[in-house]
């Protein structure tokens, strides 16, 4: 009896196979031709599919597609392919297999640079918290007007290019004489070379972030906190929740979505961005400031007359690409699974 039923089922599905194929074909056709409203059996209005209005619409989208393909997709594929090539200064490339990767992994500076990257990585994660604390303190203020004034004042530094602040900090510390260096000498009786000492440079860079409050992120968090209904806060008040417990059991869980968003940004930036290190770079601190991103940059655009090693740069770029892609997929998964 059971066997018979299975047989019937098999037979049925066999008969439906062409129909199923046809259905898939139809789906593909509708997807490609953008004719989703056409039901099976209905005729396609070819005049609409390839008519003047479709042409105009295509022309509207064309500049975006063309520029994206040429200036975004092509460099990406070029980066993947040329990582396996020797590239000379004229841009000619010759296939060399894994040679570039061998060069990268046998370079001792790579391992130092990974260590430096991890240093910034860990501290960038830790230094996410001052911003959250500042936002929560600001949010808890009773007067909306005062809150707004603070918010505007926090955004005020954004009018100056961030590079200018970095240059200003470099000036304040100074290579030979700097106001802060002089001040530190008077206070501690020892002349610290904040910018030129390999042991100090990373801490100097971290220090210049003081007070480690990022205006953009304050705005993101405050947007999240403002989106929460008033009744939640009233309920907390009724229950007499203390300020610290309120932070851990209410505010922090409520902005966890925003937190993840910022986290993804911080993770990506810690691995791939190097413009700050580039600005603080000097030969004396070479080993302790180099990050893989900066290494990729300097191999292609060296400071001195050392010839460019484009192959190295391409290979390291591909490694960074894969690592940060993997990490962002991981965070995305983690974000999805806990939501």
């Amino acid at each position: 009896m059971k066997k018979k039923a299975e047989g019937v089922k098999l037979h049925n599905s066999g008969r439906n196979l062409p129909a199923a194929l046809k259905k898939i074909g139809l789906k593909i056709r509708n997807y490609v031709l953008d004719t989703e409203e056409v039901l099976p059996g209905q005729k396609i209005r070819w005049k609409r599919v390839f008519g003047l209005s479709a042409l105009v619409a295509f022309l509207f989208a064309l500049p975006a597609i063309v520029t994206n393909i040429i200036f975004d997709w092509i460099p990406m594929f070029d980066g993947i392919i040329k990582a396996f090539c020797y590239v000379d200064s004229r841009g000619n490339s010759y296939f060399v297999g894994l040679q570039n990767f061998k060069n990268v992994f046998s370079d001792p500076i790579l391992y130092k640079s990974i260590g430096n990257m991890l240093f910034f990585f860990v501290f960038n994660l830790l230094l996410m918290f001052p911003t959250i604390i500042c936002t929560v303190v600001m949010f808890r203020m009773k007067s909306a007007k005062v809150q707004y004034v603070y918010r505007v004042l926090l955004c005020l530094p954004m009018v100056v290019p961030s590079l200018v602040f970095t240059l200003l900090w470099i000036f304040v510390f100074g290579y030979n004489f700097g106001v802060l260096t002089d001040l530190a000498e008077r206070l501690f009786g020892h002349r610290y070379n904040f910018l030129g000492d390999p042991k100090l440079i990373k801490w100097t860079i971290l220090f210049t972030g003081i007070p480690w409050v990022t205006s953009n992120n304050v705005l993101i968090y405050i947007g999240g906190l403002n989106g929460i209904s008033e009744s939640v806060w009233d309920a907390a008040k009724m229950d007499g929740v203390g300020p610290i417990r309120k932070f851990f059991s209410l505010e922090l869980p409520l902005i966890v979505g925003q937190f993840k968003l910022v986290l993804i940004g911080v993770l990506g930036a810690s691995i791939t961005s190097y413009s700050t290190q580039l600005l603080y770079y000097n030969a004396a601190v070479h080993d302790s400031i180099m990050t893989p991103g900066l290494l990729m940059y300097y191999k292609a655009f060296p400071l001195t007359t050392v010839p460019s090693d484009y192959g190295y740069s391409y290979a390291l770029g591909l490694i960074l690409f894969v690592v940060s892609l993997f990490l962002s997929l991981l965070t995305l998964k983690f974000v999805k699974s806990s939501d």
């Binding site: 295509f58 980066g79 841009g91 203020m141 918010r151 926090l154 190097y274 960074l320």
Partner: protein, 290 residues
């Protein structure tokens, strides 16, 4: 009953006021500490640009009198080429990228053409791919196209790389609008371009202003890409120009250098003053990008 109702809020307010003082004083002190630390560099910039070079070094934290106004003309003379060049680049960047994104957003959101979804996926996928690898290949491509040291090396790569996100934003916004809005105009015999200019563009104006501010901020702050692609001094952007200035002989005249730094903030100050709300929204507009 009535008096009760009136009295209640007053009693509530009085209670609040009594508690307000001890509570928020601590918070205010904390906020001021944070703000002082954040605004200290701005303050230093401001006072230093009115000082002689010697005063910058000897009296760093306090303003000195008389104020030196001659720093600004001197600084302007040096940085004005960079300033004007960046202004031009930023304007081109903003106008072209916005136009391209809005046109595409409208086409993907409300119009029909073959391969629409396929092509959109091609843009959309780019939102999730890291861009760290692009620096050297982009440089090679620019060199091959012969556009190094031109405005196009900035504009074309900005258009190509920054629009997937914005096309996505515009498309989502256009899709939310009722279909009838567009249909009625079409039935009246208006051409697509006309619909775009008279209906779509005004509808998208809030989004366009956000995007424009975001792009201006980006163009004014961008550093690494202009540093490698604009090697001729006359073509440099403000950030690259200031970077080289800080390393050169001009960097020895600190008052002038500081006023140069301060002048670089001018356009963004103007944007900030005239559109504070839009500016603050523009700061976080790119944040949804993953």
């Amino acid at each position: 009953m009535n008096t009760m109702n009136n009295a209640l809020p007053i009693a509530k307010m009085a209670g609040k006021k009594r508690r307000w003082i001890p509570h928020d004083i601590g918070k205010n002190i904390y906020m001021w500490l944070v703000l002082i630390l954040m605004l200290l560099p701005l303050y230093i910039l401001l006072i230093s640009s009115f000082k002689t070079s010697a005063d910058v070094l000897n009296h760093f934290f306090v303003p000195t009198f008389p104020l030196v106004f001659t720093n600004f003309p001197k600084a302007w003379e040096i940085i004005s080429p960079y300033f004007l060049t960046t202004f031009y680049y930023a304007a081109m960047n903003t106008v072209i990228t916005t136009l391209v994104s809005v046109l595409a957003g409208y086409a993907f959101g409300k119009l029909r053409f073959p391969c629409r979804k396929l092509l959109f996926m091609c843009l959309f996928a780019k939102m999730f791919l890291p861009t760290v690898m692009n620096l050297v290949p982009s440089f090679m491509l620019a060199a091959k196209l012969g556009i190094l040291n031109t405005v196009w090396v900035i504009v074309l790569f900005c258009v190509g790389q920054s629009q997937p996100y914005w096309v996505f934003v515009m498309k989502t916004f256009v899709e939310q609008q009722p279909k009838e809005l567009f249909e009625s105009m079409r039935l009246d015999g208006a051409s697509e371009l006309r619909i775009f200019a008279t209906l779509v563009a005004p509808l998208l104006l809030p989004m366009i202003s956000l995007m424009a501010i975001n792009l201006v901020l980006f163009s004014w702050n961008d550093f690494v890409w202009p540093l490698v692609t604009l090697t001729e001094d006359s073509k440099r952007t403000i950030t690259v120009g200031l970077y080289w200035l800080s390393k050169s002989q001009v960097g020895r005249d600190y008052g002038v250098l500081m006023s140069g730094y301060l002048l670089s903030a001018l356009p963004l100050v103007v944007v900030f003053l005239f559109g504070m709300k839009a500016f603050m929204k523009g700061l976080t507009a790119g944040a949804i990008k993953i």
